[in-house]
Amino acid sequence: MFSKEELNFRIQINSLIDKFLPKNWQKYPDERLDEDWELSKKIKKELAKNNWIAPSWPKKYGGLDHNISSSIILSEIFAYRMSPGNDRFGVRMIGPTLLKYGSEYQKEKYLNEITSGEVQWCQGYSEPNSGSDLASVSTKGDYDEEKDEITINGTKVWTTLGHRADRMFILVRTLQNSKRHEGLSLVILDMSDPGIKVNPIKNVSGSSSFNEIVLTNVKTSGKNIVGKLHEGWMVALDLLNFERSGIDYIGWAERCLDDLEKYCKDIDILSRDHIKITISSLRANLESAKIMTYKALWIKTKDEKIHMEPSMSKLLATEINIKIHDFAFEILSKNATIKDNNHDDFASRILKNRFFFISGGILGGTTEIQKNIIAQRGLGLSK
C-alpha cells in the first residue's frame, strides 16, 4: 500500500518520537498537564524543522507537496505511540478548510503559522443547547460593515484544548432570525482577547481536556471570516468531514491489540482457543477498518464532494477500538479495577482509555448522527 519512500517516512517519524518520548511511555497524552504540553510543543517544533507537520500541504505553506499517504502515516504513528504533538485542529480541520475556502490572506497567515508548530487551534462549534443539532447555534456574531468587524457574544462548550489554544475557529449566527442553516458564519478568533473566559471541565477519565468558553464582546476583523459572510454552514460541515475518518482510533486500537497479544503470550494464555479466536477476529476487523479510514482520507483529496466514507470509517474505527479495549478489560479485569502495589501500567491505561474512548462515539458527530447521514445522504432514504 505504501511506497518505499513512504515507509522510510514512517521510520523517520518513529525515530523523531523516540528522541522525545520517555521509554515505556504508557499513557494517552493529557495536554492539561504542563509536562505533556511541553512535550507536545517540543515535538511539534521538531516536526516543523523538517516540514513534517502537514506534509501533504503545498510547499509555500510549509508542507512538502506529498500525497495523503504521509498524513495518514503521521496520524497513525502518533496515535499508536500515544505521543503528544499531533495537531488535530490545525492540520486536520481548519488547515484543509482554509486550503479549500480561505482567502489568500488567511492561507498565507494561518497555514504558515500551523506548519511552524507554534500555534494551537481549538474548535468552537458546540454550545450547551447545540450539540448534534449544530445548525441551531445561537452564539451571536454582529457584523459592522463600516468597521468590517464582527463582535461575538455567547457560550461554547466541550472545547478541547481551549485552555491551551492561541486561535479558535468558531461557528456563529451572523444573521439573527435566519433559517437554521442560513445566516451562519465560520470565523477565526484570537484566544488572547480579554473578552474570552475559559472554564475547564473535568471528564470521566479524571483529566480536564475540554472547556466551557464564554465570549463577551469579542471582536475580530471581517478578514477572518472563512468563506462568505452568512454562508458558513457548508464550510463548517466540510470541516467536520475533514475531522472524521477515525484514523487516530485505528492507531490507538492497534497499539492496544498488540500490547494485549503480548500480554496474553507473557502470561501464557495465548494458546487458549477462545483467546486465539477473539484476538484474530479483532485483528481482522481492525485491519479492514484501517483500510476504510485510508479510503476516507484519500477520497477527500479526489474531488470536492461530501462523501460518506468518513462517516463510515469513523463508525468502524471507533467501534473496533472499543471492542479491543473491552476485550482487554476482560483479560486484565482485577488488575485494572484495583490499584495495589502489584498493579501494572498496562491495566490502568486500558481502563483509563476505555473511559476516555466513550468520547469516540460522541465527538465530531455522534454514532447515531453518522448513521443518519449514511442512511439519508448516502442511501437517499428519506428523513
Binding site: K202, V204, I322, I338
Partner: protein, 359 residues
C-alpha cells in the same frame, strides 16, 4: 408454581429502604470519593439503624428470618443508590452461621445483628484462587496463622476478619480480631474504595476462632452467595443508569425535539430496558434457589456470566445516549460505570464461570 410477583411485605421492605437510602444520596460526595478525596459509606449507617443486618438471622436469634431472595431484593435498592459498606459480607455470614446452629454460631449471629461485631472478608476471592490463602500450623498444641491477606474492604468499619486458611491442606475458616493484625498497604479501587493488605505474622489463634462446618463447605457457599449478592447489587446499579438515561432523553432537546423522540434513541433505550429486565429476572430466579439445590452452583455461574455480559454494556450505552454531558466527571454517570466494572472484575471472570457451569 410460577410467580414473578413480589408479596406485600417484600414491596414494603423495598420501599422503606429506598426512602431511607434516597435521603443522603449525593452524587457530589460520591464523586469526591471516586477522586480519592473522601471515604464515604453511604447507606451503611441506614442499614444498621433499620436493623437490616438481622434480615437473614432467625427469629430465635433476634432477626427477621427472611429469605436469601428477600435479601437480594434489598441489594437491588442498595446498589441503585451506590451504597457501600460490609452489608453483603455480614448478611451472608449470618445466613451461613444459621445453618451451623450451635452455641458459638448463634452467639456470633446475635453479635453481628446488633452491630457489636462487624466482620469483613474476601474469602470469595480467596476461594476462587484470586487472592492469597494464609496457613494455619500447629506447634506445641497451639495454632498459629501465618501469611498475608490482600485487598480487604471495609477494614475501618469492621471489628473482625473472616479468613480462609489452610490447615494440613484442608480449608478452614478463621475469625480474627482486627486489632491482632498488622495492616500493610492501603490500595484503592476505581470507585475510590479503600482496600487493605494485612499480615498475620505467626498469629496465635485459639481453637475457638476456627470455624468447623461439617455439613457444608463454608467458603464455597459464601463464595456462591456473595457472587449472587453482587449480581443483585449490579442489577440495582444498572437500573439507576437506565432511570437516569430515560429522565435525560425526555428533557434534552435537539432538532427542536426531545432526544426521546428519535428512533435510534428509542431503540437503544429499549434494548437497555429489555436486557436489564431479563438480567434482573434471571438473578432473582437464581436467588430463589435453595443452597441445597444441586443446580445452585451452575446457576450462580450463569447469573454472573449474564451480568458480566449485559450490565456494563448498559452503562456504556447510557454514556453514548447522554452525549458530552455523560462524559463529564460532575454528572456522575461514571460512578455507576465504575462500580459495575469493579463488580464485574470480582468473583471470577467468564472463563472461570464457564468452566464451573460446564462441570
Amino acid at each position: 408454581m410460577i410467580d414473578f410477583e413480589l408479596n406485600e411485605s417484600q414491596k414494603m421492605i423495598i420501599s422503606n429502604l429506598d426512602k431511607n437510602l434516597e435521603e443522603n444520596f449525593d452524587l457530589r460526595i460520591e464523586n469526591k470519593k471516586a477522586d480519592g478525596n473522601k471515604n464515604n459509606n453511604h447507606g451503611w449507617d441506614e442499614i444498621k439503624a433499620l436493623g437490616f443486618l438481622g434480615l437473614l438471622s432467625s427469629e430465635k436469634n433476634g432477626g427477621l428470618g427472611l429469605s436469601f431472595f428477600d435479601f437480594t431484593l434489598t441489594l437491588e435498592s442498595w446498589g441503585s443508590k451506590l451504597c457501600d459498606g460490609p452489608y453483603l459480607e455480614n448478611s451472608i455470614i449470618i445466613f451461613l452461621l444459621e445453618k451451623m446452629n450451635n452455641d458459638y454460631s448463634n452467639n456470633l449471629i446475635q453479635e453481628i445483628s446488633s452491630s457489636k461485631k462487624i466482620i469483613t472478608s474476601i474469602i470469595s476471592e480467596q476461594f476462587i484462587g484470586k487472592e492469597q490463602i494464609p496457613m494455619i500450623y500447629k506447634e506445641n498444641n497451639e495454632y498459629f496463622l501465618e501469611g498475608n491477606v490482600k485487598n480487604l474492604p471495609y477494614l475501618e468499619q469492621s471489628t473482625d476478619i473472616l479468613i480462609l486458611a489452610l490447615l494440613d491442606n484442608e480449608k478452614k475458616i478463621v475469625i480474627v480480631d482486627k486489632n491482632k493484625l498488622r495492616i500493610l498497604d492501603e490500595n484503592k479501587t476505581i470507585t475510590g474504595q479503600s482496600l487493605n493488605d494485612i499480615n498475620t505474622e505467626k498469629l496465635l489463634i485459639s481453637k475457638n476462632e476456627i470455624i468447623e462446618s461439617k455439613e457444608f463447605e463454608f467458603a464455597e457457599f459464601y463464595s456462591m452467595l456473595f457472587t449472587l449478592a453482587k449480581c443483585a447489587e449490579s442489577v440495582g446499579i444498572a437500573s439507576t443508569v437506565l432511570n437516569m438515561t430515560i429522565e435525560y432523553v425526555k428533557n434534552r432537546e435537539q432538532f427542536n425535539k426531545p432526544l426521546a423522540s428519535f428512533q435510534a434513541i428509542q431503540h437503544s433505550a429499549s434494548d437497555m430496558y429489555t436486557k436489564l429486565s431479563e438480567t434482573r429476572e434471571f438473578v432473582r430466579y437464581c436467588s430463589k434457589l435453595s443452597i441445597d439445590d444441586k443446580n445452585m452452583k451452575k446457576y450462580v455461574s450463569l447469573a454472573k456470566i449474564k451480568c458480566d455480559e449485559e450490565l456494563s454494556k448498559i452503562a456504556w450505552n447510557s454514556h453514548q445516549i447522554h452525549g458530552a454531558i455523560g462524559f463529564t466527571w460532575d454528572y456522575g454517570l461514571h460512578l455507576m460505570t465504575r462500580k459495575l466494572l469493579l463488580n464485574k472484575s470480582l468473583n471470577g471472570d467468564s472463563l472461570l464461570h464457564s468452566e464451573i457451569q460446564l462441570q
